[in-house]
């Protein structure tokens, strides 16, 4: 954005434009319950699909007998691996995951077969009637065993998905302070509420299919589905069904190929929908990780050298483990300056649930480790948690341990200082007293369980600061496309950007209104009828799809100026948009855009690319990331040291957002992301015992409720980034990254005040970790 345009925008803000917080265009439908999520879609004559899944973490399939299913009235199709016409495996990076298991099942929940029936109940009974004979094998469950090569290969591609080292500077550099720890991060689930669902409509000739699905990346799904169906890509059309949250879980294929296969086999529409228990099995999860770190620092707490070893358990199939590993290890130093480092990183294959993208994508795990280390350095140096971070804070131009300079705006010190300036909660331990003087029981740890009284509680404060890469890395060209049509004062924008709740559709309208000077912006259906927008992930859509919409609108605006110029004998370059008018900056002409665009049919499509990145060499050196954003979190928690229960009282944050295109939406992302960070700190974990998930439900996989989430106080640090097309950085992931270690640090602080020292080197923290 040019300086002139910025000053235009920051003068009286025209409602609905960039910088305003207009309401989302699908808001009314959503509050009235008429918005169509993919699970609300249906069709006449539609059949219902269901998936048969492996009960074993590792087994050989000896036989599959589907005859029992066929005997059930209402069953119309039964398919398995032998029914896949095209490529029998798929995957985001390596195509190592079977559509249906044929010889081996490698995780509990792996699809083995699918049925289509007249209704869900019949489909369920049909699944029960399929007999699969398994030869149970010894599963590989320990990542160290995989690394050591002590288990037979559980997959032809090997038991180690990726091994990457980083070597930078002087490996022997040391300092007066040496602190180390081994940190464990449990498996978190994205737990979006809108369960997986899709409906496939086969083309009459059976040579094509249209799939309506809730997903994050239409074109990547399209590519993988087409390969498995053995069809040309243009024969597989995807339409975005309403998405009930994603957080990374929809980046991998789940039910897409199965639904299409059934529909094509039967020549009739087929719907598929997962239950919550099935959803826990049917999508990838956050990688559990074990991270050892040893930090060397000066007596003043300045970082000298970092040694680290990362092990990510990728589960049965590769998914995006390779990229998650890169993200994790390249963030080893955190948002801090450090000249020396040696990192060993492994992403391994086990017979656990497959892992892949979840908001934060490797940076979450790294951050818990390095922020815990920074607190240890602070203690050793006798300085505060804030001070150790300020002393080491990164600035623009500083290098990662990969040798990559951070060229973006890098206001780490501002993030810390602005967070520190936010008021501490005035609410005393146990909350303000009730009108009758009694304590407000709901404000104490234990909440509704009434386990404590105020004297049992100690309050603590903790910090977390983090860095996150934006967009994709390691030479991946994750471009985005947008199409802008302008006619008679109405702009119509088309993109394949998956709206998953984050509000891209809102800012797309704002961008168009700002650039084109129209109020009326229509959003076309989100489908594969326009070029790829890349994935809704990696905090990338505001930058990439925002950039594409911005560029497409600018191109359309150029066409408009050419038309006006031709009509009035002016040079397009002397024209600009002011409010809702086309204005001659030199002369007197001022005409409404609606009038200027009357009778025109402007149609511009733009493909927005970010600059290319590099791969990492064998020493992990290379400019592999596209851009970076920063954030600081301060958590205030009340702890019951005897019972190990925690109540988060407040989370304060200052986040580096560049330019808040829609401040209310940014706050929404911040608060929502912090809730997920809090969840990882205190309660969210998929528990697998002997490779079997024990808590595939919301009774035992706990999400933060209204009573668990505290008020959030936030400052937006708006230093527009010159690299970003709108000055705006992505905001979705940073909130869930350093909020986790901030909460844990606050618990440690509270316990120290109670005279208790607990390392708390694992998340989620369990009550027994606190009280024993």
């Amino acid at each position: 954005m040019t300086v002139d345009e910025r000053s235009r925008v920051s003068a009286p803000l025209r409602p609905g434009t960039i910088g305003d917080s207009p309401v989302r265009p699908d808001g009314i439908e959503k509050v009235q319950g008429s918005y169509a999520f993919s699970s609300d879609l249906s069709a006449d004559g539609c059949l219902f699909g269901a998936t048969l899944r492996s009960p074993h973490p590792y087994a050989r399939i000896a036989s599959i007998d589907v005859s029992g299913a066929w005997k059930i009235s209402g069953v119309e199709a039964v398919i398995d691996a032998s029914d896949v016409p095209g490529q029998i495996t798929y995957g985001l990076i390596a195509e190592d995951q079977p559509v249906f298991a044929s010889e081996f099942v490698r995780y509990v929940g792996e699809p083995v077969a699918a049925v289509a029936a007249s209704d869900p109940e019949t489909a369920r009974r049909a699944l029960d009637a399929i007999e699969v004979t398994y030869e149970v094998l010894t599963p590989l469950l320990d990542p160290e065993v995989a690394i050591a090569g002590d288990h037979p290969l559980i997959h032809p591609d090997g038991n180690v998905i990726r091994h990457q080292r980083i070597v930078h500077g002087d490996p022997a550099a040391s300092g007066d302070i040496v602190v180390e720890g081994t940190y464990e991060i449990g498996m978190q689930d994205q737990a979006f509420l809108g369960l997986e669902a899709a409906i496939a409509h086969p083309d009459p000739g059976g040579d094509g299919v249209e799939l309506h699905v809730a997903t994050q990346w239409l074109h990547e799904d399209q590519k993988q589905i087409a390969a498995c169906l053995g069809m040309p890509v243009d024969k597989v059309r995807l339409v975005l069904g309403g998405v009930g949250g994603a957080f990374g879980a929809r980046e991998d294929i789940s039910l897409q190929v199965h639904t299409c296969l059934l529909a094509l086999r039967l020549g009739r529409p087929v719907r598929m929908a997962y239950s919550r228990a099935e959803s826990f099995l049917g999508h990838v999860h956050r990688h559990p990780a074990t991270i050892w770190m040893r930090h060397h620092a000066t007596a003043q707490g300045r970082l000298v050298n970092i040694e680290a070893r990362f092990v990510f358990d990728g589960g049965a199939y590769a998914s995006t483990s390779s990229a998650v590993l890169t993200n994790g290890i390249t963030m080893t130093q955190g948002p801090y300056r450090c000249e020396n480092g040696t990192v060993d990183g492994f992403a391994v294959r086990t017979n656990h649930l497959p892992c892949g993208a979840m908001r934060g994508f490797g940076a979450v795990q790294a951050c818990f480790a390095y922020e815990s280390q920074m607190d240890k350095i602070a203690l050793a140096a006798g300085i505060s948690a804030e001070e150790v971070r300020l002393r080491n804070a990164m600035r623009t131009g500083d290098l990662l341990l990969t040798g990559q300079p951070v060229l973006n705006v890098a206001p780490v010190e501002d993030c810390i200082r602005e967070t520190a300036a936010l008021p501490m909660p005035d609410e005393p331990v146990g909350g303000f007293a009730m009108p009758d003087g009694s304590p407000d029981a709901m404000r104490l740890p234990g909440g509704a369980g009434r386990t404590a009284d105020a004297p049992d509680i100690v309050r603590g404060v903790g910090w977390g600061v983090s860095i996150k890469n934006l967009m994709y890395s390691e030479k991946f060209d994750d471009y985005s496309t947008a199409r802008c049509r302008l006619s008679d004062g109405v702009a119509t924008i088309k993109f394949a950007t998956a709206e998953v709740g984050q509000g891209f559709i809102t800012i797309a309208q704002q961008i168009a209104r700002t650039i084109l000077g129209v109020d009326d912006v229509v959003l076309d259906r989100i489908d594969t009828g326009v070029g790829s927008a890349g994935s809704t992930s990696a905090s990338r859509q505001t930058w990439m799809s925002g950039g594409a919409v911005d560029a497409a609108c600018r191109a359309a605006r150029e066409r408009l100026f050419e038309a006006v110029g031709a009509a009035y004998g002016l040079e397009p370059i002397q024209l600009m948009i002011d409010g809702t008018d086309v204005v001659d900056t030199i002369g007197d002409l001022r005409i409404p855009v609606s009038e200027a665009s009357a009778g025109l049919e402007i149609d511009e499509t733009f493909e927005y690319h970010h600059p290319p990145t590099e791969e990492l060499d064998e020493n992990g050196q290379g400019n592999c990331h596209t851009a970076f954003a920063f954030v600081a979190h301060r958590a205030v928690v009340d702890v019951d040291p005897e019972l190990g229960l925690v109540k988060v009282v407040q989370i304060a944050t200052a986040q580096d957002v560049g330019n808040a295109l829609n401040p209310l939406s940014v706050i929404g992302q911040i608060e929502g992301g912090i809730a997920q960070g809090l969840g990882l700190a205190l309660m969210e974990e998929i528990i697998q015992i002997d490779g079997v998930i024990r808590n595939p439900n919301f009774t035992d996989y706990l999400l933060p409720t209204f009573l668990d989430m505290p008020p959030v106080v936030a400052t937006l640090i708006e230093q527009p980034d010159p690299h970003a097309p709108l000055g705006a950085k992505g905001v979705g992931e940073p909130p869930c990254i350093s909020s986790t270690p901030a909460v844990v640090a606050a618990i440690r602080d509270a316990l120290r005040k109670a005279g208790v020292d607990r390392p708390l080197e694992r998340v989620p923290v369990r009550p027994s970790d606190i009280c024993f």
């Binding site: 909440g447 386990t451 019972l643 009550p767």
Partner: protein, 287 residues
């Protein structure tokens, strides 16, 4: 396929006599979870009890010193006055149950019928020595709640019987409930306890949940604290409270599962016991 929605207890009992394997449905908050998950399915008949008026009322008998609660009374109703003041521990336990949605549907009778060791109302009923009235077409019988709760999700109900009422003795003295869960709302208890003071009899009762196959009382702990309290001043020493906690922990027989460990549960229930006792009595001098 039949779902019966009787309006009277007589009709309900008659239906059950005719269809002894019928699926009994109270508030649905336990049963529907199992049906939705596919773990249980009604075979031939469902008898819904939520419209039986007789089961949805309660009465206070001052002469007998009891409150009789219909099996269909919901947690929300247990939290309303004047019932909440008559049985404050039951109101507290009800408040810890899930959410308004669950409290509006879940019933005390259903809690008892499911007989999970984590059932929130059950430690209260055990601590207060409640009795369960069971009704069938053959007659009625009253069973002490401790004898009714036999094991994990097992009661001593006979085929053809319905839980009709729960008779709860009123106590003079403090009573309260607490439960431990990992988050601050909507949790299944990892450990829970109800402590009830009977100032007339000069006795403490404490019942524990989630630390054994069924809700349990703690005779040794109760004896200890009942004797340690200075009843004239209503105080007890810190040392006595500490010993009470130790005895409560010792009485528990918890397991390790995906929700928590035996060690933590044993520890937590002792802490709950001590804190409930501390709430009940003002602090005395340490002896």
């Amino acid at each position: 396929m039949t779902v019966a929605v009787p309006n009277t207890l007589t009709d309900a009992v008659q239906l059950l006599e005719e269809h002894p394997s019928a699926f009994l449905l109270g508030g649905g908050t336990d049963a529907m979870v199992e049906i939705n998950d596919g773990h249980r399915r009604p075979d031939e008949m469902v008898i819904a009890l939520n419209r039986v008026a007789d089961l949805r009322s309660w009465r206070h008998d001052p002469t007998a010193g009891t409150v009789t609660i219909g099996a269909g009374v919901t947690y929300t109703e247990l939290m309303e006055e004047p019932l909440a003041s008559l049985l404050p521990a039951l109101a507290e336990a009800s408040r810890t149950v899930g959410s308004p949605q669950i409290r509006n549907a879940g019933t005390l009778g259903g809690n008892l019928g499911t007989c999970s060791p984590a059932g929130d109302g059950l430690p209260v009923l055990a601590a207060l020595d409640a009795e369960v009235l069971l009704v069938s077409s053959h007659g009625r019988r009253t069973v002490p709640v401790q004898d009714f709760m036999v094991g994990v999700k097992r009661t001593s109900i006979e085929p053809g019987e319905l839980i009709a009422e729960i008779i709860v003795p009123l106590r003079t003295g403090w009573q309260g409930y607490a439960k431990v869960g990992v988050r601050n709302a909507m949790v299944i208890a990892v450990a829970s306890a109800c402590l009830a003071v009977d100032t007339d009899a000069r006795r403490i009762a404490i019942a524990l949940g989630s630390v054994g196959p069924t809700v349990m009382r703690c005779p040794d702990a109760e004896d200890h604290l009942s004797n340690a309290v200075d009843w004239s001043s209503g105080t007890v020493s810190d040392d006595a409270l500490g010993e009470f906690a130790r005895l409560v922990s010792a009485a528990s027989t918890p397991i390790t599962d995906h929700r928590s460990t035996a060690d933590y549960r044993r520890h937590a229930v002792g802490v709950l016991g001590r804190r409930l006792a501390r709430r009940a009595f003002t602090q005395g001098a340490t002896t």
